[in-house]
């Protein structure tokens, strides 16, 4: 039985080296523009840095995938086409795409370029995956974070397409690529600008002893003195419904599916993905290292032994709590 492939994020060349050194089988990155869904200030790779990153990964027997997973702007497809062309000429091991038109372009223009379907395409069932497989020759699908493990098992068996699932990091409670919550409040969306709840629209306002986090014109959360604060990602805010304030959509938790390794293996999952191209290299090194250790131990014993991360890491995990998310049915 094939080993799980561990797919790790990198927002900078330093993070890429950290991920490779910590045991990533593949690293995914984006170019420094709106063609990728983590278009955050100061992040991502120039063409030269991407070439160096590929050399670094390949030199150590690892792979590099390039995410070009926003939806090209109408009337201006140039940057997206160029990104695909550059990925092909740089020798990326795969491109991660979401838009039908861009998949069509890549499949026609670069028939040898390996295509992965981005989570932003939200292919949530076997029929959808079949279309991407048959029409564009997509070889691997990153599944949306809304499926249960049995859903994943059936989809993988029926389509024969490699499946990649998120196992760690930020959790979208909504179907990815089909969410305009961010743009409703800020005018900027994951699909168009590659950002969600962008920092440019975030403000922290002290009000007496409480700290209020605002996104655009809306209050997203309020923290009492001493209460751990959160970044005001819209779906992880506190809102009032039926007279009660609560984390209506999702608590500020972090996905961690390490305990589900045996189930994910039985479901036929090919690759495990860590979220967080916006996270720092120290975080990436720690998380990738812990997962490497867990996967190696799983290969030997078939059991999911949960390693202890350095205590310092608990600090950088949102809400300091984790969840197995939609993979287990109770989440719904």
């Amino acid at each position: 039985m094939a080993h799980f492939e561990l797919i790790c994020p990198a927002g900078t060349p330093a993070a890429l080296r950290a991920a490779v050194d910590a045991g990533a089988d593949a690293v995914y990155c984006g170019f420094r523009d709106a063609t990728n869904a983590r278009n955050f200030p100061g992040l991502n790779f120039s063409v030269r840095e991407m070439a160096e990153g590929i050399a670094y990964a390949h030199g150590r027997g690892r792979k590099l995938f390039i995410a070009i997973n926003t939806y090209p702007t109408a009337g201006n497809p140039g940057p997206w086409h160029q990104a695909v062309d550059q990925a092909a000429s740089l020798g990326a091991d795969a491109v991660i795409l979401a838009d039908y038109g861009l998949l069509d372009y890549a499949a026609r223009r670069h028939p040898r370029l390996k295509l992965h379907l981005s989570v932003q395409a939200s292919a949530a069932n076997a029929d959808a995956v079949t279309l991407y497989r048959d029409v564009f020759g997509v070889r691997r699908v990153v599944l949306p974070r809304v499926l249960t493990v049995p859903d994943i098992a059936r989809l993988t068996a029926e389509t024969g397409v490699e499946t990649e699932v998120f196992v760690f990091g930020g959790l979208c409670p909504m179907a990815e690529g089909r969410c305009s919550l961010s743009s409703y409040a800020t005018g900027q969306s994951p699909n168009r600008q590659g950002v969600c709840s962008p920092a440019s629209h975030v403000r922290y306002e002290p009000r007496g002893t409480t700290l209020v986090s605002r996104l655009g014109d809306f209050t997203i959360n309020r923290f009492e003195d001493g209460e751990p604060a959160g970044y005001p990602t819209l779906c992880k805010g506190r809102f009032v419904a039926r007279g009660q304030a609560s984390y209506l959509f999702e608590e500020p938790t972090s996905l961690n599916a390490i305990a589900l390794l045996p189930e994910l293996k039985a479901a036929g999952v090919r690759a495990l993905k860590i979220e967080g191209r916006q996270r720092g290299k120290a975080y990436i090194a720690a998380v990738v290292g812990a997962y490497r250790q867990a996967l190696d131990s799983f290969d030997r014993t078939g059991r999911a032994e949960v390693p202890q991360l350095a205590p310092t890491l608990a600090d950088v995990i949102e809400g300091r709590r984790d969840t197995t998310g939609a993979y287990t049915r109770g989440w719904r």
Partner: protein, 221 residues
């Protein structure tokens, strides 16, 4: 599970980094007696060294629109005003309470140092309450991301920037600038204290800084 409880989570800044904080406090006292005429060239030198050692980050910061970020260490007497944008990075000491900027990061010096060295990331920045962000949040995130892309070892940075300070000393002596010379000597002592931390050495330095202060003050009208 992977994630431990809040109480067990002794993050980097919870250790407080007392040595670095103490040294920084002394350096700031020194900077105050030295005045901007001596202090600013040292800060400019630090920016230049940073740009040379970390061209990627320097370029990223230069690509930002012209803007200022006030770094306000709550446990130190001075703030640091960063100017970002087309002119490149510029650093200036300032009175944090009297300074306005496009964005502000406030916290204990240890936490700010973790931020500068990439020990905490852009998301974690917001999960903890020991840092306060105000104003243009995107600017702070951009700064943090640019720094995290580098392998920054602040001791090595300061060492590289401080290199010429040693040479600056004798030159200043020729011009009979006694204060400058003493400042330079004390600065290089602070540098050594960071590289080879010893409590006694820090105490000795503290006394030295105090002497420099009293000499300068006694000469003031």
């Amino acid at each position: 599970m992977l994630i431990q409880s809040h109480d067990e989570a002794a993050g980097p800044s919870r250790s407080g980094r007392p040595l670095e904080t103490a040294v920084a406090a002394l350096a700031l006292r020194l900077a105050r007696v030295a005045g901007p005429r001596l202090g600013n060239p040292v800060l400019d030198r630090l920016s230049q060294v940073f740009a040379r050692r970390h061209p990627r980050a320097a370029e990223a910061l230069a690509e930002l629109p012209a803007a200022t970020v006030l770094v306000d260490p709550t446990d130190l007497p001075s703030g640091l005003l960063l100017r970002l944008g087309p002119g490149g990075l510029r650093l200036r000491l300032c009175d944090a309470a009297a300074t306005t900027a496009d964005a502000m990061v406030r916290g204990r010096f240890g936490a700010l140092l973790d931020l500068a060295e990439g020990r905490i990331d852009g998301d974690a920045l917001f999960f903890r309450r020991d840092l306060t962000i105000a104003g243009d949040t995107a600017l702070v995130v951009a700064l943090r991301n640019a720094l995290d892309g580098e392998d920054i070892d602040l001791l090595a940075e300061i060492d590289a920037a401080a290199g010429p300070i040693g040479r600056f000393g004798p030159k200043a002596r020729q011009h009979a600038a006694q204060t400058a010379a003493r400042v330079a000597e004390t600065l290089s002592g602070l540098r050594s204290a960071l590289l080879r931390p010893e409590a006694r050495r820090l105490d000795a330095l503290e006394r030295r800084v105090a002497r420099v202060e009293s000499r300068v003050e006694s000469r003031e009208p």
